[in-house]
Amino acid sequence: MNKLLSGNEAIALGAYYAGIGVATAYPGTPSTEILEALASYEDIYVEWSTNEKVALEVGLGACYTGIRTLVSMKHVGLNVAANPFLAAATTGIDGGLVIVSADDPGIHSSQGEQDNRHYAKLAKVPVLEPTDSQSAYDLMPLAFEISEKFDTPVMLRTTTRVSHSKSVVNIMGKRHLFKKKPGFQRNVQKYVMLPVNARIRRPNIEERLVKLAEFAETFPFNTIEPGEKQLGIIASGIGYQYAREVFPKASFLKLGMTYPLPIKLLRSFAGSVKRILVVEELDPFLEESVKALGINVVGKEFIPRIGELNVDAVNAAAEKMGVLKKKTTLPAVNIPADLPKRPPLLCPGCPHASMFYVLASAGQRLKLPNAKVKESKESPLTITGDIGCYTLATYPPLNAMDTTACMGASIGQAIGMEKAGLKTKIAAVIGDSTFLHSGITPLIDAVYNQSKITVIILDNGTTAMTGHQEHPATGISAQGKKVGQVILEDLVRGLGISDVKVVDAFKIRELRAAVKDSLERPELSVIISRGPCAVRTPRGSDVSVIDSERCNKCDICLLIGCPAIQSDGEKLLIDSLMCMGEKCTVCQQICPRQAIKPSSQLKRGANE
């Protein structure tokens, strides 16, 4: 049967058919949909783990019992999980262990770009790269077989365009069922990495690599596709697809396993063509290895190493190399440069917007873009930020975030600024899921080292940015079951923090009082601002309306950055189809002239 599947759906289905019993992940673009797809199968155990490190450790334990296990994460997730990743490479596995690393060239939804094939090389484990959904599906059972045959974790590396594009998959077969019951064989030399044992494992890893390189020579996804001898292309991943379109007649060496490399196959291919171009997304990972063999190839001097590839980029490379004649390009359409952009925004009724409005106000940062006020002095409040939808509060009109580095960094950064002697007030802002992922240990650091910062946990009860996944504080599992629930305020109090305030995210007065009090206190303070994510909340019926007789167009309501509040330069209006109504009312609370009212009141007023 042919079906249109995304790369992530194909990975999930392939893993399910390969007989996995356990799947773990922390959500992260572009990897999230793998675990979401697996969660629908009731005969396997699927969990959203607290973070990627935990996901991989749970995965490692599961595979030690002989059960095939899949662990998936985005590229930067593997930074978090690097410790167990290298540990897994040392101990090896029992049941097959496959780690999916979904890289994000072009930085569509990440804090940076990195080529995680380097991690495979660092850990000395094999890496497989699908080029589309069919190959992702086909590679999954092989990945588990390699893992078990060579006693190694296997990395399956995708990039955004493989994970997030749909292509046709011929779905054959069914779920492979193992008779094996989970059991753990005590083997301290393999599983207890005391230095004495780790030293024994160490040569195994090198021997394993040699055997894997030999295996790669005949691996069915490392294939030569013969064509004209003038030009040979070595390609992997989505780069193969772009190159196939640009060079329909060239000879190809398509690599499904990109570490370790099949040396004989590479030499034989090199001997059969005149000139070789390596097409791969991000770093010259293949190119450098092939050059180290003394094979003359070109690559990154023509193919961009930054961002996503596409047909245009490969085409431009071919023209620069002189292997394709320059086509006459269409004259570019004259589009005015000032066409307004449409960046993502905090949604109407977002529970985070109100807190940022209060913080921006406390930090004297609120300013309309065209307001004629003199250049504002330095803000008396520094706001370190974190990763989630709320990072969007960096933009005008809120201007309410000063740093974003990696998951959980806001709290440590705030401590560091304080300890370095920064004289402003300092607040760290972090979402609920991010706090659980990586915010707890730095908060312990704040307690221990007597930091005086204010930590604000924005609790919308979900992992919103990646599409509303559950987490430990929601008490719902990946498979929709009621499970254990971490109560954020209990957790924080349990660390020994006495000033913990829980506030309603939609009550401006409450937020203002809490922020003022916490910032003034000479001690560590935590504010949990709680309100449900607007995307998951049914819209209220009593939408906010602007009373045009009272409104003096001061534009203060625009400072929330709510997309429902619009201005055509002449008058302000609230889009009734976007407004969340009585579920929010933040604009009603901040209007200095009480000109924004629930529509029910305004109508009543008109009738009186």
């Binding site: 004259n334 589009i335 307004p340 309309l368």
Partner: protein, 207 residues
């Protein structure tokens, strides 16, 4: 009507654009499935920013005998299906000369326009930009039609109705795929939206 004909080329590169929340990803999924059903090779991909709502969303749907790249090459788009005017005109450079533009006559000003930093282009400016590449511009009153129908969220299906007139796929295949993606309580209203779209596009004059 003038200038109304089915495409007679061997590949169909569709670009479906809009604002997050307008449902263009579902529209692109359905287009891909209908093409697969008709025996074509298909690849489709969406590019969207980091947040859930409100940003630009672009879907590439590539249909042909054999498709390699999921992203359409610049200047190769055969049909642009735009759910919002600014999100349509933004992609003019992606169009091949003479491409078909089906655009919902609807403007959603970005925040920067509300804040007075940017200006939303006038209808004339939008048309003038498109006309540098193509004269085949179909402006449809989709938002108006589905608001009258009673469910704004059927806009994507209305737009598919318009699109379906240009592609050599059976009406039944479209309807089947649409219903498969929606809960039963939404079947009638979406069938109606699809039918309205098919009708509306025939009443629209080019240009």
């Amino acid at each position: 009507m003038n200038g109304f004909d089915k495409l007679t080329i061997r590949k169909y590169d569709l670009l479906i654009t809009g604002v997050g929340g307008q449902g263009n990803i579902l529209a692109s999924d359905i287009s891909g499935e209908v093409a697969l059903e008709a025996g074509y090779d298909v690849k489709k991909t969406d590019t969207l920013g980091m947040a859930q709502r409100g940003g630009s969303v672009i879907s590439h749907v590539r249909i042909g005998k054999k498709v390699f790249s999921p992203l359409i090459k610049d200047g190769e788009v055969d049909i642009l299906l735009a759910f919002e005017k600014l999100e349509g005109v933004r992609w003019t450079n992606s169009l091949r000369p003479g491409a078909i533009v089906i655009m919902n006559n609807y403007a959603q000003p970005p925040l920067s326009v509300s804040l007075g930093v940017d200006r939303y282009p006038t209808d004339k400016e939008v048309t003038d930009i498109f006309k540098q590449r193509t004269d085949r511009i179909y402006l449809v009153d989709g938002t108006q039609a589905v608001t009258k129908l009673g469910n704004l969220r059927t806009l994507n299906i209305f737009m598919l109705g318009c699109l379906s007139q240009f592609l050599p796929f059976k009406v039944e295949a479209w309807e089947k795929s649409i219903l498969e993606h929606l809960p039963e309580r939404l079947h009638n209203i979406n069938s109606a939206a699809f039918g309205l779209g098919r009708k509306e596009i025939k009443n629209v004059h080019v240009g």
